[in-house]
């Protein structure tokens, strides 16, 4: 076995990372093509509010001290997701307004909770930037459960999600119940964001959803290939990033994002080379 994996906490981090590296880009493809790349950011900030709330409650009540803050984070995140869909209906002509509204609500609440608790320990820092040594066994099981739910959802709803992303009108015409599916999709996105934050951190979660897609969309042919390439790029970055993070003693979120940026640059360069070859 790799020396890297001889510790249990690293095994936990590695397993979680691989699952997250699969989940985030799959959902990311649908989010990016619907031009909602910033939704992941809004949801991650509302997740932070949930985590801060849990940490605060843990300080006050012994009951919450044992709870994994990830669950409270998920609850906030799913609530925020449903709220975004509602806000999009209120601001029909300014749909994107829903994102800054939820984002600032998330940050505002987080700051209040943090100040009420007179600041936090390193725990919060881990959630902000991601830390592979902070992944617990219970996190692995939680993420595994989310993995199963998301893969089943995307597998069985692939057609519907594809049509709704391409052209909502056509989707409605073919009799697809778009409202229900879009809300379920947002809720699932919220779960994945909460699941990913231990590895990449709240501030960087959205990068794991959008950067692999940004890279694959340049070079892929067709929608399925876009998904596969996004997953490939996501996994590559997560695995490489975690190795680098461990051996160079750097924050895992940062190294993963830097790996993603490198992949993205290569994909843009590759595309340029191919099109100039075609032209020449």
């Amino acid at each position: 076995m790799l020396p890297f994996l001889k510790y249990e906490f690293l095994q936990n981090a590695f397993l979680t990372g691989i699952m997250v590296g699969l989940l985030a880009p799959i959902l990311g493809v649908f989010i990016v093509v619907r031009r909602q790349a910033l939704i992941a950011d809004a949801l991650s900030h509302i997740t932070l509010a949930g985590i801060a709330a849990n940490l605060l409650l843990a300080k006050w009540f012994a009951l919450f001290a044992g709870a994994n803050p990830i669950y409270m984070g998920m609850a906030f995140s799913v609530g925020g997701a449903v709220f975004i869909e509602q806000l999009r209906k209120v601001y029909k002509h300014y749909e994107e307004l829903a994102i800054p509204i939820i984002m600032s609500a998330g940050i505002g609440l987080s700051v209040i909770f943090i100040s009420m608790a007179d600041g936090f320990n390193t725990d919060l820092f881990n959630y902000l930037f991601g830390s592979i040594i902070a992944v617990k066994q219970s996190d692995v099981w939680t993420v595994l459960a989310i993995l199963v739910v998301v893969l089943l959802f995307v597998f069985f709803m692939y057609k519907e999600l594809f049509v709704l992303s391409f052209d909502e009108e056509q989707g409605k015409l073919s009799g697809i119940r778009s409202n229900w599916i879009l809300i379920a999709f947002m809720a699932i996105t919220a779960l994945v964001i909460a699941a990913s934050m231990k590895i990449v951190g709240i501030l960087l979660v959205s990068s794991l959803m959008t950067l692999p897609v940004a890279a694959s969309i340049r070079i892929a042919t067709g929608f399925k290939q876009t998904i596969w390439l996004s997953v490939l790029f996501g996994e590559t970055a997560v695995i490489a990033g975690m190795f680098l993070s461990y051996y160079l003693d750097l924050a895992s979120g940062g190294t993963i994002v830097v790996c993603l940026i490198i992949i993205l640059s290569f994909s843009i360069l590759y595309k340029k080379l191919m099109s100039s070859r075609k032209a020449g």
């Binding site: 057609k159 049509v163 052209d167 697809i176 892929a220 067709g222």
Partner: protein, 258 residues
């Protein structure tokens, strides 16, 4: 079954629609018989697209009703009988990463149903729809790489793939070069004649249209003319000038070399 055949494909009954204070459609009554080819004409902003969206149940009129094949649109469920090609520019992200084949296969999703996948017979249908619009060779290209005319053909194929009985096209030749729009009209004529499809073509291109359609409806908030092509041509110059507000000659483009 016989009763069904007698039902018009589309029946619009005293329909009015307004966006806020602005009246878009006033007391529109219109019938499209099964097997006919209707040209719906009118100047820009005359409410053509709004009427189509009401017909498809995408917009809810404040007054009046729409029936498709004899059934009220709110209760209509056989959407695989209806194909719709919208004005391309409004509803389409040209950078969307999907191949032409994938886009056409979307037209089958309503028929296939929830939790199910495309079978190989479905894929055959996609191929024959691509063949019908002469785009077979482009099946594996990304939709964004195709020209405007080619993209439009792909959207027609998407509407055709579920073998609809009624096909509605909203200004399908906008942004398409003259040559491809001509072969496009010919394709519609073939669909109408050979497949006995009911067609509704929304356009502001009056001259070209009259060579192909069987019926004409002129819309400018209200229906100003509704009848067959012959009646339309006989009355057209007076109709048109009243309608567009100035004198219009209907020019026939007879490139059809019959």
């Amino acid at each position: 079954m016989e009763k069904k055949l007698n039902n018009p494909a589309i029946f619009v009954d005293d329909l009015s629609f307004h966006y806020g204070e602005k009246n878009v459609l006033e007391h529109v009554t219109m019938e499209v018989k099964q097997g006919s080819f209707l040209g719906l004409v009118g100047p820009n902003g005359s409410g053509k697209s709004t009427l189509i969206k009401c017909i498809l149940g995408l917009l809810k009129p404040q007054q009046g009703s729409v029936s498709l094949f004899g059934e009220k649109v709110q209760k209509f469920h056989q959407w695989d009988k209806v194909g719709y090609v919208s004005q391309k520019a409004n509803s389409f992200n040209t950078a969307f990463p999907a191949t032409a084949f994938e886009v056409v296969s979307m037209g089958l999703f309503g028929k296939v149903g929830l939790f199910r996948f495309l079978k190989s017979s479905d894929k055959e249908k996609v191929w024959s729809a691509l063949k019908a619009v002469n785009m077979k060779d482009f099946a594996s290209r990304n939709i964004g790489e195709l020209s405007g005319g080619q993209q439009q053909r792909i959207f027609i194929a998407r509407a055709l793939v579920s073998e609809p009985e009624l096909l509605i096209l909203d200004e399908p030749t906008v942004g398409v070069d003259v040559e491809s729009s001509e072969s496009f009209y010919k394709m519609l004529k073939d669909l109408h004649r050979e497949k006995k499809m009911t067609l509704v073509l929304v356009t502001h291109d009056v001259g070209v249209m009259t060579n192909y359609v069987t019926d004409v409806a002129c819309l400018n908030k209200q229906i100003h003319f509704h009848g067959n092509t012959k009646e339309f041509e006989e009355s057209s110059s007076e109709n048109m000038s009243a309608f567009y507000g100035h004198h219009v000659h209907v020019i026939h483009h007879d490139h059809d070399h019959k």
